[in-house]
């Protein structure tokens, strides 16, 4: 405000001096961040687009241009579609169940409560623990004979299974672990949103005879909707990039039933050295993530104006 009035009244010369200082300072301040981003984000994205039209095993200098061959090949590849399907199953399960549980726990925690600090700490603990560490521990938990999972299942008389070595249960096992690991993160996001809702709304509703479920449906749910969209987008993007648990727990098996897309790209690029083909798959992954982000954003902004 003051700056504007001064700029109108003050002499032009003084301002151009300040402008110049701003320019040089700005240039100095922006250069490091911009340089790093250009070399390690912008350049790679262009480079990978270029690579995706070439065939290149990194060991040979020659990279022949192959047009759309890499893309054609991946569309026909059963391994690619298998990886996509596994990723989709993983994502849908983690996003729906995980986000719902996060919201549920956040709603429970959003009141004055004894042991609240303890609960928050407990639910958030897996988030800060590294994926590798968590995956190693859960591999042991899923041990068919001596693991805790089957032990607890037997205690409550539920059927047990072989988890990570069973082709049908390996992916669900990874999903359960991921939900457990990420609940706390989105719980915190939801809690922050819930705390913005004025308590008076709930008091007014309960005076009008609204029950807990009514208040949730007519007050909480509409007011946390933007946050819900945000959580869904973030959760989807994170889930599509899953790699660590698969690498540590299953190595993509058994029978490629836990091979997710990033793991597949990793294998193609760094084990089989097919840089061109793997780049094409990266671009498909990028397109999917981008499309989902834009779609969710559009849905969110519509929800806000309506």
């Amino acid at each position: 405000m003051t700056a504007k009035t001064v700029s109108k009244r003050g002499s032009r010369r003084r301002w151009s001096v300040r402008d110049r200082e701003d320019f040089w300072t700005g240039l100095f301040c922006l250069t490091p961040a911009v340089t790093i981003s250009l070399i390690f984000v912008v350049l790679p994205i262009i480079y990978s687009f270029y690579l995706s039209f070439h065939q290149w095993s990194i060991l040979i200098a020659d990279k022949p241009f192959v047009g759309l061959d890499n893309y054609r090949r991946l569309l026909k590849s059963t391994e690619f579609w298998n990886a996509m399907r596994n990723t989709a199953v993983y994502t849908v399960a983690v996003v729906t169940v995980g986000s719902a549980l996060s919201l549920f726990i956040a709603v429970l925690l959003n009141r004055k409560l004894r042991f609240q600090a303890f609960y928050r700490t407990a639910y958030f603990m897996p988030v800060v623990t590294s994926t590798v560490a968590v995956a190693v521990v859960w591999t042991w938990i899923y041990n068919p004979h001596y693991g805790m999972m089957n032990y607890l299942l037997r205690l409550v008389k539920l059927p047990t299974n072989n988890w990570l070595v069973d082709p049908d249960w390996a992916l669900p096992a990874v999903i359960i672990m991921s939900i457990w690991k990420n609940i706390g993160y989105h719980m915190v996001v939801f809690l922050a949103a819930l705390q913005q809702i004025p308590q008076a709304y709930y008091e007014a509703a309960s005076l009008d005879g609204a029950g807990r479920l009514d208040s949730f449906r007519y007050i909480t749910w509409p007011l946390v909707k933007p946050t819900t969209s945000f959580v869904l987008v973030m959760n989807t993007i994170f889930s599509f990039r899953v790699f660590g648990p698969v690498y540590v727990m299953t190595g993509g098996g058994p029978m490629r039933r836990t091979t997710v897309i990033v793991y597949h790209i990793y294998q193609r690029a760094f084990e089989m050295r097919e840089m061109g083909y793997a780049s094409a798959m990266s671009w498909v992954l990028f397109a999917i993530i981008l499309a989902m982000t834009l779609l969710q954003r559009r849905l969110t902004s519509k929800g806000e104006t309506a």
Partner: protein
């Protein structure tokens, strides 16, 4: 009469709310048990004799408690070395990201710079590009720089991240400019304003970012896995993953190693819980 009926109703509703909070406590307690059991299981397995690990039903409290396992795990792979590597890499990234982030965010929040909004939008847009998508060309760029299997291969690409710039800019914008205007009249330079006035007011957000960046660098896996080849350069996460392949079924030692690998971050979390929650809240809501 009416008074009596009122008190009766009051005690009834009190009873109801008591029952409700009991149900709440049971639900939340059960949930937190599920969250914590894997950690308890890790510690319990870490302190068992190898033979005791394979007892069914499993024992929660090891008998005897084998503290030696921690020592064995520490020595069985060069854990001290991994610790140092991870510490060095994470610290370098923290310092670099704070520096580049503070400078860039200051431009976006305060300076008149041609096209700064477009540049800022560019940064925000790069947040949508996951590292996993660019890992192949990034690897090839590092290869041309001869940075494969070198620490700078992990550190330099991470020296700037849009998350930090975004977080800091949001915070700088929330600081009133009155103080700076006063300083400008006194002839303070633009960078002087940043370091003498804005930064001292931003201790909270800077510590939040520090904790965040440190944790994510310490826990990073995919990129160090691609860049590093020789064992003495491994970070703790790579070392642990390799140990899991080598040790196979020696779960006691594996759990002891995992426990040691997670300890620093869990301690940091217990100390800096507030910063972490605030970081998520700030970016989560203002995205």
């Amino acid at each position: 009469m009416t008074i009596r009926r009122n008190t009766q109703r009051l005690s009834l509703s009190k009873l109801g709310s008591l029952a409700e909070s009991l149900v709440l406590q049971i639900l939340l307690f059960g949930g937190s048990l599920i969250m914590l059991i894997p950690f308890v299981w890790m510690v319990s397995s870490a302190l068992k004799q190898e033979s005791q690990v394979f007892i069914y039903p499993p024992q929660w409290i090891p008998d005897p408690i084998v503290w030696d396992n921690l020592q064995v795990a520490w020595n069985s792979f060069p854990m001290g070395r991994y610790y140092l590597n991870s510490m060095f890499i994470a610290s370098a990234i923290v310092v670099g990201q704070l520096l580049t982030g503070i400078l860039a965010a200051y431009v976006f929040a305060r300076l008149r710079f041609p096209g700064k909004n477009i540049i800022f939008m560019g940064f925000v847009a790069t947040m949508m590009i996951p590292r996993q998508v660019t890992m192949i060309p990034s690897f090839l760029i590092l290869r041309n720089l001869h940075w494969i299997d070198k620490y700078q291969g992990i550190i330099v690409p991470a020296l700037s991240h849009p998350f930090g710039i975004f977080l800091l800019r949001q915070f700088f914008l929330s600081i009133p400019t009155d103080l700076e205007d006063a300083a400008c009249i006194d002839g303070c330079s633009r960078l002087g304003v940043l370091f003498r006035i804005i930064l001292p007011l931003s201790k909270g957000v800077v510590s939040t970012l520090t904790v965040f960046v440190f944790m994510s660098s310490w826990n990073a896996f995919l990129w160090p896995l691609i860049v590093l080849n020789t064992q003495e350069k491994f970070t703790i996460q790579i070392g642990l993953a390799m140990l899991r392949d080598e040790m196979g079924t020696n779960w006691a030692i594996l759990m002891a190693a995992t426990f040691l690998a997670t300890l620093p971050v869990i301690l940091l979390y217990l100390v800096a819980q507030k910063q972490i929650v605030r970081g998520i809240t700030l970016t989560g809501l203002k995205y």
